[in-house]
Subunit: 211 residues, 2 copies
Amino acid sequence: MKDSGKISPSVIRRLPRYYRFLSNLEKAGVSRISSKALSEKMGVTASQIRQDLNCFGGFGQQGYGYNIKDLKTEIEGILGIDHKCKIILMGAGNLGRAVATHMPFDELGFELIGIYDAAPLFTGLKIKDLPIKQMDTLGDFCRLHKPQTAILCVPDDSAKELVAQLYKLGVHSFWNFTHYDILTDFPDALVENVHLSDSLMTLSYQIKCNF
Amino acid sequence: MKDSGKISPSVIRRLPRYYRFLSNLEKAGVSRISSKALSEKMGVTASQIRQDLNCFGGFGQQGYGYNIKDLKTEIEGILGIDHKCKIILMGAGNLGRAVATHMPFDELGFELIGIYDAAPLFTGLKIKDLPIKQMDTLGDFCRLHKPQTAILCVPDDSAKELVAQLYKLGVHSFWNFTHYDILTDFPDALVENVHLSDSLMTLSYQIKCNF
């Protein structure tokens, strides 16, 4: 494997999509695919596929195609999803519960080890066999189990204080569903934002422009 | 307002974020802000803000700043969120329920008018005062109420058939939480994908690179 530090961010952004298509092909029993066939399935040019995949070793052989299993393993390594990173969920409201039950964490490089919510009403209820815990136990839990990452599904107005608390406890990476801008206060944090309202507004724009 | 067709896609992608910041400022009672102050809040350069906002009319006055209400109204117009587009939710599982309860549709240019799920178990249950309906009533509903947009929160393997059905019924825009690649089969559809697993894999990559 080439040093993944040298792969451009735009290629990295595209890797999860390659990974999804390759996983589906593997599940369907396909073992090899040409860049042309893959390009037709993915709706990008074969030349883009060859360029992207050549960035990390060029698994394709002229006239022979890509070995799907090898390529998938390679992408797993680059994305780091072959190692499990401990993650905790903050906020067990509608969105938090959906994320906890919907996401196949173990297939994506994570192990969900704890769920917290400020509402005493939820304490002890289970999601995916994990009990929802009270916030006052968060410190001890983090010192003992050392989660690296937190999913933020809390109200926007409590996010800032919560991130400060988590940061002190050694949690420095965040899958952020709130609108709190973590990097403004913690420029060294690793952050992936999911701004659902931005996404829906972008769709609104597309629809408006089409009328 | 300038013709929004001439605004570059990258500026459009940034508009929802401006909109969010301006909304928060307005809620906090702020009426004017300089590009410098806005840039500090948003973590982008003042020059980028001036360039972006000049694309559609240049509401800022030298030494006087932007009128927040006017700018917000302008962005609402560009994004089309001042008009309400009828949207239906397909799939009332964990994710669908979270999306239906969590999203302030009316603030984002949409009106949620119907919820459908294939599971008879859910039929009649209400989410946000809307009853979950049976799939066999979808055709009549669409002919009567003419929704333009559907939110897809169904399992991946049922998405293709469902989109084909919706397309025939006049629903041509999709907020897609599935991994089905709508544009491959319907290149004219308007699609905004939310690929949560891609987002989490991207975070995994960031974490891996930081060790």
